[in-house]
């Protein structure tokens, strides 16, 4: 089972994504963050398998948050979220494992989690 975290400055989409994650049978916990400082404290503790990070939102440096996440916790799989597909090439460059176009539906999220299950880096899944 996966422990997930969602970082998104937009409360509406943050809650929507968290709701979708909570309904996925392979996700055991979802932690929500509107800013990155609390998110990093959580990441540093270890135990977050999936991090959903908002990119392309004005005033929020999603790419930097993703980079820091890779540095702090290389085993965490990062998923970029955006309302456009414009960051998908950058997501590959940064080493993201998934990309979610917002607003997302349950089937998009479930499909993404199935993909992630196939490429788990650590022992959270076996």
């Amino acid at each position: 089972m996966f422990n997930a975290a969602v970082v998104d400055p937009d409360t509406g989409s943050l809650e929507a994504t968290a709701g979708l994650l909570a309904r996925n049978p392979h996700v055991s916990s979802v932690a929500c963050f509107r800013g990155y400082s609390d998110f990093f404290k959580e990441i540093e503790k270890g135990g977050i398998h999936l991090a959903f990070i908002r990119v392309g939102s004005p005033g929020f440096h999603g790419l930097s948050v993703a980079r820091e996440t890779f540095a702090v916790s290389p085993a965490t799989m990062v998923v970029f979220m955006s309302d456009t597909g414009n960051y998908a090439v950058a997501a590959f460059e940064e080493g993201a494992c998934g990309y979610l176009i917002l607003p997302a539906e349950q089937k998009d999220l479930d499909e993404l989690v199935d993909n992630l299950k196939k490429r788990v880096k650590g022992a959270c899944w076996s």
């Binding site: 540093e44 270890g46 998908a88 090439v89 998934g98 990309y99 196939k118 490429r119 880096k121």
Partner: protein, 362 residues
Amino acid sequence: MIRAIIVDDEQPSVEKMAKLLGDSGIVDVKGKFTNPAEALEFLKKTRVDAVFLDIEMPGIDGLEMSNRVIDLQGGVAVVFVTAYHEYAVEAFRLNALDYLLKPVSKDRLKETLDRIVVEKNIRVHPAPMQVNCFGKFKVVVGASEVRFRTVKAGELLAFLVDRRGSAVSRSEIIDALWGEYEGDRAVAHFNTTLYYLKKALLQHGAEAPVEHARGAYRLDPAGIDCDFHRFMSFIPASTGVNEFSIQEYEEIVALYGGEYLAGSDYQWAERNRIMLREKYIRMLIDIADYYKSAGKHDKTVEIMKAGLKHEQLHGGINFRLVEALLLLNDRISAARYYDMYRRKLRNEFGLEPDAAFKRLMR
């Protein structure tokens, strides 16, 4: 080495990529194709680790091609190589490992290759440290077995190996290994044990591949050669066992030299122990069923006898062994194995072989 093929309808692009991959020194280019259909035929017969795929090709495009590649070889890494940005979202949906824009630079390609090595657990250079988790836990550096000063030092190493590269917080490690101690005492035990672990490895000339960042620890899987990691990195193709995959299946089941971390009573290993045993048995049965359908009953006998060493009372294994012996007209051996199974089953559990097995012996 990373075994790879390149598929691109333009010959110069194929050659350019082949040169870049060849120059990396860690890729063995198994095939170069300008025709996607030929590449698919090739993949029916040869296992690879990665496929470098152009997207815009006549006939089968790269996105469609990636689906067919995954159908043939489930665990393969798909890397798209294209001049266009617009397929990147779709590439994520197809679970591509990477997406490279042409012209591909050497540095960017190196990142891709690093990801393939990590994700597919590919051994590029031989690791100095050998770790055996099937059977008794054993660490060998060079030619000598590492002896740890305390039992816990070995357990700590086994615990980090069990996590396969995931970072684990110190508190999680302490809960698993020193649950009976509280606060500072537990931390002190942990610190001393980590010190003993590193020291024991250093005495054998190996540096512990344990990384520490912000309160969490991880063991770099690339730093060790581990039977359990190799076993776990195997992803069966959706086609199951066939004449092309059989060799790899046999290599993987041969890694199972006994129960996971046998002889230990580590609570934290229980889940993996059960999972690995089930996975082993399932693969063994798949192999036996393949050999039965191929009419190679002597091979079934060989594989099932090896399986009996670890799973003496498994009904499916005993049944297939006896069945194969009967198909080879070796009734005496069949009766002997059946009797042995029936006797043990009765003595240990007071049970009888199931009806299908009894019918087989009539």
